[in-house]
Amino acid sequence: MHRVVITGTGVVSALGSNTASFWHALLSVRSAIREMAGFEAAQIRFKNGAEIRDYSAEDHFEPKDIPFMDRFAQFAVLAARQAVTEAGIEWTPDLRETTSVITGSCLGGRAAEESGYWELFHNGKNRVQPLTIPLSMSNAGASHICMQFGIEGPAYTVSTACASSSHAIGQAFWMVRSGAAPMAIAGGSEAPFFLGGLKAWEAMRVISKDTCRPFSAERSGMILGEGAAMLILENLEAAVARGARPLAEIVGFGMSADAGHITQPLAAGPARAMRLALRDSGMAPEQIGYINAHGTATEANDRIETAAIRCTFNSHADKLAVSSTKSMHGHALGAAGALEAVASVLSLRDGMLPPTANFISPDPACNLDVIPHHARAASVEGCLSNSFAFGGLNAVLAFKAFP
């Protein structure tokens, strides 16, 4: 069993196009939620989202490569490039052959699929674009990362809705810890801003017409976001031997299924995932000082997550700081867990806890210390990052500060 550290991160999000700008925005409480561009107001019943603006594929990719990559796959590669650069990885044939790539995505390239079907169903064409399948497949992000760096090791994609990238990072952690791979690139990417997808979310009636106000009595639902985050996971000995500087240690992973309802969450499943992550980490509950919550700002999630945290931590729940950074980067579905894992890692590195933005007044059903309005300086030993998916599939990651 190896100890596993994070040695690099990469972020593409509405808050910024790299980890540094993302982290700076979170600590300065700058929300990226605003009116969505490119859709007519009459088309959709909600108007706000956390979209990435001013993005141009031509700024990052060769013209010959662009037609083969959907937006979500481009984000995945961009985040991976940053993470690899920060970690200072020098590729050798052996490292290429053994490194693992595990990505998460909820929707994959479904926007590309929609474009193809638009031709079929609306424009009366009898054929779709020939790249529709390779563009839309959910594993395209992992495949393009492998091609980008010539990585030939175990690579696959996890799709568990809003927990996708937490499951991906957890699997990568276990893989590196066990020695099955010396290093892994893990995270998630998502690009959910296309009309059919937005209409499907509208019909779920869980998107706020206001903004994302996690744990606040005034919360009225989630706000969609997009982007990607990738992390480099390495075994500690190898990382230290090559002179890498660990940002934090990843120490635990827990997962569970509610086995309850396809959309309504239960507290028992998330609580069990948190307990299992703690047990896997070898940390005592009292060593946890911060939880980056799933915190979607739906009525049900925040109430149930609070109950699950209280059930897991008992009296220590009153000493925990808990925040939802979705209030700033939106809910990036399959990328959410990875974005929040990066926030968790950096909060340990810097001794700064990101806040819950847009908070107005407390809800007795969400009576936790949710770090409203302002970031907080606090050196914590360990933290959890919670992700709970529709379908009742839960994934919790545990990180520990690396001295």
């Binding site: 779920m204 959309t263 049900a300």
Partner: protein
Amino acid sequence: MNQTIQERVLKVIATSKRVPLETVQPDSSFEALNIDSLDRLNILFDLESEFEIEIDDEQAKQVKNIHEMIEGVTLLVQAKSAPSSVK
């Protein structure tokens, strides 16, 4: 006309939930009919199609039983047919 709306609402609920029409009464509670949050989404969607109306999320959240659902639909149908109404 209200009677007709009521009958149509009850039929939409019975069809959506796949239960016999006679089991759905105006004074039935959602709990008694085993209607959960996802069933409600389906019913709201079917009601919007049946009456060609748009039911606001916040208004929908206030509805606690089938009687209120019938009342809400009736108001929306009346607003739609009123000559001065603006959609």
